[in-house]
Symmetry: C2
Subunit: 136 residues, 2 copies
DNA sequence: TGCCTATATGCCTAAACAGGTATATAGATT
DNA sequence: AATCTATATACCTGTTTAGGCATATAGGCA
């Protein structure tokens, strides 16, 4: 809620990447693992950090926890997220994150309904091998 | 130079107030003391922090050290400073800081040339009592 | 029941940080 | 030379943080 807290959340690269991704789409923990290439603990802790400061909200979706930006956001958060988007437009890491996100949106079959396109309404459980619920 | 470093600099209230003031005018340490109402050490340390990260630059002016935003700033810094200004527009503390700055700009006789108006070119040393170079 | 998958948390360590007290330095003034 | 003013720095303390390892929880599934 506080401007300082916003900057505190913004001042770690992993959290910044998480927030940047969330400006595009709600995501569950293993999506972040996948995209960021960081271990589960690390991701989970940063998400907890953000959650503790009201910077993200969660909802349970089957066995997954889906993180998103809070629907009603403080004006300062909104502004800073926009500023962030402007700032990282040309940054290699952040761009790749978005690319990976698009790929994920095409290949991921769970949790259902997260990504609007490319899913064809499939909601059978993901029976593919591998740690994440991806089709091959 | 780094976006993360910018946010690190932004995530302390004192530093945020300092940077916000600097978007208006270059200032010396005792100006900050005066406006922020914080002890000299505290101000000095935060300025050192900012200096160490290239967020401000300094020049010696007689017996004072004048801090300012670097003339050539990274795009991200510029953007974020603007965003900051937007965010704090209605914030009581930040507004008061600016008010105090205007008052200072009228009453301060040293260091010369910092404030363009209200000085009448006086550059005699400040012989008034009190810790700071203010007229009464 | 026992395993698997997704996620969270407790404990640990090393580093950074914020603020305080005391002191140093440097230039100007008396 | 002694003092004053402006500023910086060293040292100390308590707090926060980041990351790692191990473990907990909880819901599905064999």
């Amino acid at each position: 809620m506080d401007l300082i807290q916003i900057y505190q959340c913004f001042c770690d690269r992993t959290r910044l990447r998480i927030l940047h991704l969330l400006t595009r789409s709600p995501l569950c923990v293993c999506h972040f693992q996948q995209i960021l290439g960081e271990p589960q603990v690390k991701v989970s802790k940063h998400l907890a950090y953000l959650r503790g400061r009201g910077m993200v909200s969660t909802k349970k979706e089957r066995n997954w926890v889906v993180y998103s930006l809070p629907e009603r956001r403080a004006d300062e958060l909104e502004r800073n997220l926009r500023c962030l988007q402007d700032c990282v437009q040309t940054d290699a890491v952040f761009r790749r994150d978005i690319q990976k996100l698009s790929k994920l949106a095409k290949n991921c079959c769970e949790p259902c309904g997260l990504f609007r396109r490319g899913l064809n309404g499939r909601r059978t459980s993901a029976k593919t091998k591998g740690s994440v619920h991806l089709r091959s």
